[in-house]
């Protein structure tokens, strides 16, 4: 009887209306995502004059020059290599260091764990972007300090242009790895806690050292969480702007978002090139997303820290 209650004609009509509204709202959101991107791609093939004349038509002739022009103005040939170095290097660093520390926190007894692990977890809440000013001061001042020391030891002649952290790939990687660590470390530690301690103890009794256990047991078992952590970080690292913007001023060390930023402002003289630059900026991650959508979605939902 009660089961029938949900199927009265009036509630069915309500259900249909609800469904229509649901489709409308979601459809609007989806169109607001697809249309601007498609519009951008179409207009990236128009000449400037054609863009002013008609913003809604298809291009008369594909202006590939927009792409070669944007490629040269943005120095993307150099930047794309840097983007790969920063993204891959930082991802590997975050994954490896998180699993190492996670192993120590989860499987080696120590009184220091609650304090150190706790401060890492607190770091999840702290967005590192709010620290860009002290970070900038720190890297430039450390460079001066190290430079002065090296000068004292006669490694270098002058400390004036010596850079170890600022304007260096090492500096960018250090900051990127450090900023990705808290959440990755949390995920890895919780995951490794789930690996049976008996496995580690059995290996200890057989006389294996911790480094062998790490290499032989923990690392192979951590492949799933390593994938999750990597996927969670790749898009964010590739697209990162605020930190590298203050860490690097040399063109040869910049990443793609910094190159795209050159095309900002509606005062750009050439819309076709501006749009081409934006397409160049979004294409790699769009392809990555289309290729690994399932894994990316899974990684993001795993990143939802619970508790």
């Amino acid at each position: 009887m009660r089961a029938l209650l949900g199927k009265t004609p009036s509630s069915r009509i309500l259900g249909i209306i609800g469904r229509v509204i649901a489709y409308l709202v979601m459809g609007t959101f989806a169109l607001m995502t697809i249309l601007p991107i498609v519009w951008l791609i179409i207009n990236s093939f128009k000449s400037n004059a054609e863009y002013y004349l008609n913003k809604l038509s298809l291009p008369e002739k594909l202006q590939w020059v927009n792409y070669s022009g944007a490629w040269n103005i943005g120095d993307f040939r150099e930047l794309i290599g840097n983007s790969f170095i920063y993204t891959i290097g930082a991802t590997l660093g975050i994954v490896l260091f998180s699993i190492m520390a996670g192993f120590a926190f989860a499987k080696i007894r120590s009184k220091a764990t609650p304090i150190i692990y706790g401060s890492f977890v607190m770091g999840i809440l702290l967005s590192i972007q709010s620290l860009m000013v002290p970070l900038f001061i720190e890297v430039s001042q450390f460079d001066k300090l190290i430079g002065a020391l090296f000068q004292l030891l006669h490694f270098i002649k002058s400390a004036d242009n010596f850079h170890f952290f600022y304007n260096s790939r090492v500096g960018v990687l250090i900051v990127y790895i450090g900023s990705g660590l808290p959440i990755a470390l949390y995920l890895c530690t919780e995951y490794i806690k789930g690996i049976p301690t008996a496995l580690v103890e059995a290996a200890r009794i057989d006389g294996a050292g911790f480094f062998r256990i790490f290499r032989g047991i923990i690392l192979p078992m951590c492949v799933p969480i390593a994938t999750t952590v990597a996927i969670l970080n790749i898009t964010g690292l590739w697209n990162e702007f605020a930190l590298i913007n203050i860490l690097v001023s040399k063109t040869g060390l910049k990443s793609i978002p910094l190159g795209v930023m050159r095309f900002s402002g509606t005062m750009m003289a050439d819309y076709g090139k501006q749009f081409a630059a934006l397409v160049i900026g979004m294409a790699p991650m769009l392809i990555f997303y289309i290729a690994f959508r399932k894994q990316i979605t899974k990684g993001v939902s795993a990143g939802a820290v619970k508790g």
Binding site: M100, A101, F211, N239, F241
Partner: protein, 373 residues
């Protein structure tokens, strides 16, 4: 016994070796900058050598006092609050409702919606910011569509008016009718609209009808000017819209993944007992997800308080400085013009303090109203 001691020492060595890389990086990138920031915000450091250069010293809370007295700080804070509000009360509820619609299969093709709605989150915010700033600009997509529809509407009006007047027949009445459908802003070019427009129209030949139509349309039809890019009280609207658009999909994915962990029999039983979809959502799914929602809210607050790249790419804090948020206000004081590092660090600390306050508030709300897990 001896073996026990040796193995304990090995344990300690292995422990520190394993956490050392992460620990050093954490110190360098998070812990030390915070300490440095607190110190510098209380100092008179002017950007010289920090170690062994000119002396700098702690001078107290001067910079914080200066902040409180700076109207720009309050404007940036207000803008930041808008971003936080649209994130917490826009992205989260919308993401939740979308997730529920997909989870309950109220809408079909869940995979497709999920895939599309999450897409903005994987594209660089710099790219998206520039893209939207062009779309919203006077030479952009929205202006184009609106102005074209205004123009064609105006042309239709004109054609109608001339038809009623029986062709090119410029009387006061016709001119009045034209003035009535014209954009008041366009009429400000005339000192005396009625007489001026009449004189202008009489300058044409009756045979020039198409030219008249197009000229008058260009001159008098309503034009959409993106006021919100220059007016202070609405300048944040496009930014808030893009913020909402950009990250709703992230929460959709988070919530959907957690909904899929709920035992489906629970929901079926409720449905059998006659509960509507709204009741199932409000009384079963929402309480079960309260923990995830609170954590998402916390991450959302921390993230939106630090929003920098999107706004930097969209407006750069402009026009004037009306769309500045705290992070841009801080950036300006440290990297644009003459740097004021103590002030910039005081802003950094105020961001940190502000996010701690909001996070504690969220936790309190959870304690008071949240469901039990």
């Amino acid at each position: 016994m001896r073996r026990g001691i040796r193995s304990r020492a090995e344990e300690v060595r292995a422990y520190w070796a394993m956490i050392l890389p992460a620990f050093i990086l954490y110190m360098l990138v998070l812990a030390f900058p915070i300490v440095l920031s607190i110190l510098l915000s209380l100092s008179n450091y002017n950007g010289g050598k920090l170690f062994g250069g000119e002396a700098w010293q702690l001078v107290g809370f001067q910079q914080y006092e200066r902040l409180i007295r700076d109207p720009q700080f309050w404007l940036a804070l207000k803008n930041n609050v808008y971003i936080v509000l649209v994130s917490v009360f826009g992205q989260l509820p919308l993401g939740f409702i979308f997730a529920y619609l997909i989870y309950r299969r109220i809408v079909k093709f869940g995979d497709f919606w999920q895939g599309v709605l999450y897409m903005p989150a994987i594209i660089s915010t710099i790219v998206l910011g520039i893209m939207w700033s062009v779309i919203f600009s006077p030479t952009g997509l929205i202006a184009d569509i609106l102005n074209k529809s205004y123009a064609s509407g105006f042309t239709n009006h004109l054609t109608e008016i001339f038809k009623q007047a029986g062709g090119f027949n410029i009387t006061d009445e016709v001119v009045k009718k034209i003035l009535a459908v014209s954009d008041p802003k366009a009429l400000t070019v005339f000192s005396n609209p009625l007489a001026d427009l009449k004189a202008l129209l009489l300058g044409y030949q009756p045979s020039q009808m198409p030219v008249i139509l197009s000229d008058m349309t260009n001159l008098l039809a309503r034009k959409w000017t993106p006021d919100f890019l220059s007016k202070q009280n609405v300048a944040m609207v496009p930014i808030m819209f893009v913020t909402l658009w950009c990250w709703t999909g992230t929460y959709l994915i988070l919530f959907l993944a957690n909904m899929q962990k709920i035992d489906p029999q629970l929901l079926e039983a409720a449905r059998m007992d006659g509960a509507g979809e709204g009741q199932v959502m409000g009384w079963i799914v929402l309480p079960l997800l309260s923990g995830v929602i609170v954590n998402s809210a916390i991450l959302c607050i921390a993230g939106s308080l630090n929003s920098f790249a999107l706004i930097w790419a969209m407006t750069g804090g402009g026009p004037g400085r009306v769309t500045e948020v705290l992070s841009i206000y801080m950036y300006r004081n440290a990297f644009v013009g003459v740097p004021n590092f103590p002030l910039a660090n005081a802003i950094a600390m105020s961001i940190v303090i502000f996010s701690i306050v909001l996070i504690v508030l969220t936790k309190l709300v959870e304690k008071r109203y949240g469901g039990k897990e």
